[in-house]
């Protein structure tokens, strides 16, 4: 909401003076265009923001009171009970731990390994450059499909384990292309002169190339981190057994909440917890806020890295 009002506030001074000062230069058509354009963009922004802000308001509202509806941008009967219900759930500590661990380990390992592959493939002298690139690029278009992949993971004992989150997705062909494009843009002389001084490939990679690639590495690791934070499907497919409670993630727990609401087992739960005045809807709202909070807080600051990554990838294609 604050951002929205800011947007509107910034709107006014910029539109008004122009109207006054430039009537001689700007045609009525121009002004009409600007007004309509501004209205469309504001409506668009409201459509994006309103459901999110509404979710936050509901998450702070009393459960039974929320059933009456009519909550917009501000909670009517304020309570933090929904949050305490979410945070005291038995699965919560595990889900938080696994999600954080997979995000950190997954991002670090994937970025490092993918960067190393990109380095190998960016060496112009490398004999098998073409063949190895092709081997990876093909995987962007052809995949074995859910069932063969599932069976391979099973054979490798990756199912019902934490490592299924980390190992299979470790090398990403797309990220490799982005990193390689960037590395190809660095001057050859850097690596060559280090070679002359007797530095090996690993030294060059760690000491010269990696530090120079930091902007694009930031981009790639951010994408990877968001991917890990948001995944739920691999949890459901590979780690959904009776003994896998210690491998659950935040998104998967949220998905379970969601499907319990849609399967209408919700009403029973509401009755049971009625004296606590939390309902599945309000609890889910609180869980949603908790799971998306890290991303929403961080991303305005990291936005330029995201955008930079997309443009590098775009230039490549």
């Amino acid at each position: 909401m604050a951002e929205l009002t800011k947007a509107i506030a910034e709107e006014k001074p910029s539109v008004k003076p122009k109207k006054k000062s430039s009537t001689s230069r700007r045609s009525t058509g121009d002004i009409v265009f600007d007004v309509i354009n501004t209205i469309i963009l504001i409506v668009f922004t409201v459509i994006i923001l309103y459901p999110l802000l509404n979710m936050v308001a509901i998450s702070f509202n009393d459960g039974t009171d929320a059933l009456r509806g009519g909550i917009y941008l501000w909670p009517r009967a304020f309570t933090t009970k929904n949050y305490s219900t979410v945070l005291s759930k038995q699965s919560m500590p595990v889900a938080v731990r696994v999600t954080v661990l997979r995000t950190i380990i997954g991002t670090l390992s994937s970025t490092f390994v993918t960067a190393l592959l990109a380095y190998i493939l960016s060496r112009k002298e490398f004999l098998f450059k073409k063949q190895l690139s092709l081997l990876y690029v093909i995987t962007m278009y052809v995949s074995g499909g859910l069932i063969p992949v599932f069976l391979v993971y099973k054979k490798l004992n990756l199912t019902h384990s934490f490592w299924v989150y980390i190992i299979p997705g470790m090398v990403s062909a797309w990220n490799m292309l982005v990193l390689r494009t960037y590395m190809n843009g660095l001057p050859d002389s850097l690596a060559e002169s280090a070679m002359m001084d007797g530095a090996g490939h690993l030294t060059i990679f760690f000491r010269i190339i990696l530090p120079l690639c930091m902007p694009v590495i930031a981009t790639v690791s951010l994408f990877t981190a968001v991917y890990h934070w948001n995944s739920w499907f691999d949890v459901m497919i590979y780690n959904n057994g009776a003994k896998d409670a210690n491998l659950t993630t935040l998104q998967f727990e949220l998905q379970k909440l969601l499907s319990s609401v849609t399967n209408n087992s919700a009403s029973a739960e509401t009755m049971k917890e009625a004296n606590n005045t939390v309902t599945p809807t309000t609890v889910r709202a609180a869980a949603t806020v908790v799971t998306s909070l890290p991303i929403i807080c961080l991303y305005p600051f990291l936005q330029r890295y995201f955008v930079a990554g997309l443009t590098i990838g775009g230039v490549k294609e």
Binding site: E11, N54, I120, V142, S143, L202
Partner: protein, 329 residues
Amino acid sequence: MSKNVALAADGNAAALKAENKKSFWKQVKNQKTLILLSIPFVVYVIIFCYVPLVGWIMAFQNYKPAKGLLNSEFVGLDKFKRLFGVAPFPKNDVFLGVIRNTLAMGLINLVLGTVCAIAFAILLSEFRSRGGKKVIQTISYLPHFLSWVIVAGIVFDVLSMENGMLNKLLVGLGIVDKGVNWLAEPKYFWWIVAFTNLWKETGWNSIIYLAAITSINPDLYEAASIDGAGRLSRIWHITLPGLKPTILILLIMNVGNVLNAGFDIQYLLGNGLVQRYSQTIDIYVLKYGISQGDYSIGTAAGIFKSLVSIILIFLANRTAKAMGEEHLF
């Protein structure tokens, strides 16, 4: 390579070959580190990406996990025939419906998604306030970073029959008398998916078009306005033609993904009532493959999907080439 060919044509092919061979091993020796470093990557990609392809054999077998890939009985194309309901198998309307849903939702998403992203990028680039532009941009990217689970939850809330804001709005405006149960009506499902995708991705997808708009030569706009062209005609005659190469490349890339765009949201929003319109190939594979243990039919459906994707991307590329436009390969 071309230099080698030219030299070979000069007549000393044999000598060159011998020399090449020698220098090849010399090069290998020189590149020991690079080659050693690349070995784990070769092993990795083979295990995780190419070994699963061997599993495609299952689609041609009556695969039994107990018997394994080697001892299961081969049945030729029977599984594919069963999928498509070709004689002697009974008609399989379910799978044909699944193909229809996947294609329909994929195409709606592709067309609406592209049009809206372009429109948004153009409107934003025409927006005069710099600060406001930045704020709108930041807000518009936000949903891209939310997981599908969260987005599905938001859709449930917005469309809810009792308190959903859409029903409230429609009732308030007098368009409907009482709330519609949107997610229980099969005819709305495709459009709900389409609008959800628009909500989540329009801002994000517009980034690349915005970048393309910035790279259009500003002199063109100036010349056009001197000639008396208004804003709309400048957009029509300069911005859109300037965006054409970008639009085509992205269309080609996305056409190959038309069948890939169908899992998360359909799975999360779908329910028994709308199943006939919500089930996509991926959900079908999941249902028959993993949940019911029929690995063969699930794999066959998966192969069908991969083949169609590859054909689509080649067709799109060929069309672009024939039209004399930019193409991928």
